[in-house]
């Protein structure tokens, strides 16, 4: 617990891309059930702009997708 309004915890490893509920408990028995979710997502590229790039290496690509953290 960092202050009265926040808690820090480390996300465990998870074997597959999935979005899960995240709940908090102080007694290992009673958990919150507020529908807060966390997604385990590897970077996934959905689109790239531009698709044509300069031979000079001056183009900067913007990559759109998921899981860019």
């Amino acid at each position: 617990m960092t202050d009265s309004g926040s808690v820090i915890c480390q996300i465990p490893k998870y074997p597959a891309p999935e979005t899960l509920d995240i709940d908090v408990s102080f007694n290992d028995q009673d958990f919150t059930n507020d529908g807060v979710k966390f997604g385990f997502l590897d970077p996934y590229i959905e689109a790239i702009e531009p698709r044509l790039i300069s031979t000079k290496g001056t183009s900067k690509l913007t990559i759109y997708g998921y899981g860019f953290v």
Partner: protein
């Protein structure tokens, strides 16, 4: 939220891609959970099977926390800079949006293919004030075959057409062109001259047979047209 993270790899979809003997990697910058940016390499250092990548398509993969690469089939490729020969006009009235044609060699079949340029290009013209470099206006452009309207089956586009933006003053500027909407080339001198306007006509009417001499009152008739 903006943070540099992990590595990005440029990888040919069929064969390993090398940059001077090493895998081409770049650090990407995260803009948000759904957006990242990354710089590219000069074409001259990107190899495939010990040969320059040239204008072959390739993919970009991002390294995930497990060290694997996210896969996708989004092809990107280098384009060959077109050669811009000349511009149809070097001036426009500041209050008009004038069509400008730029004679262009796209090097069809020698670096660029029509299908890919049609599909992936984002043609733009950019006008930059010579007196105030922060004053920049970008307009859409299209490629076409000259002369306009005379479609010839086997003739490929050989010019670019864009419109001048409205400019709020007389000004000297430069005109540049971009194939991908980001990298501009060409450096044509361009002038925005006095607005051309009509305030009043006298007389207001005349016989249907014509031949009435009228006087037009307005602005820009002694414009500094180069």
């Amino acid at each position: 939220m903006e943070e540099s993270k992990s590595v990005i790899i440029l990888k040919h979809k069929d064969q390993p891609l090398d940059c001077n003997g090493a895998v081409c990697t770049k650090v990407y910058t995260v803009k948000s959970e759904n957006e990242a940016t990354v710089d590219t390499f000069e074409q001259s250092i990107v190899l495939r099977s010990s040969k320059n990548i040239g204008f072959d398509s390739f993919n970009i993969n991002m390294m995930n926390p497990d060290g694997d690469f996210s896969k996708n089939d989004i092809d990107i490729r280098y384009y060959r800079d077109p050669a811009l020969a000349n511009v149809s006009s070097h001036f426009a009235y500041a209050n008009e949006e004038k069509p400008i044609m730029i004679s262009t060699n796209f090097f069809w079949g020698a670096g660029n293919t029509l299908a890919e340029i049609q599909k992936y290009s984002d043609f733009k013209c950019r006008f930059t004030s010579a007196n105030d470099p922060t004053k920049v206006k970008v307009t859409k452009a299209v490629m076409e075959t000259s002369p306009i309207g005379q479609f010839k089956k086997d003739k490929l586009p050989d010019q670019v057409r864009c419109r001048t933006p409205k400019w709020d003053s007389t000004d000297a500027a430069t005109l540049e062109f971009s194939i991908n909407g980001q990298d501009f080339l060409g450096n044509f001198a361009f002038n925005f001259v006095d607005n051309l306007e009509v305030y009043k006509i006298s007389p207001l009417s005349g016989p249907i047979g014509g031949k009435t001499m009228v006087k037009l009152y307005g602005n820009g008739y002694t414009s500094s047209v180069p």
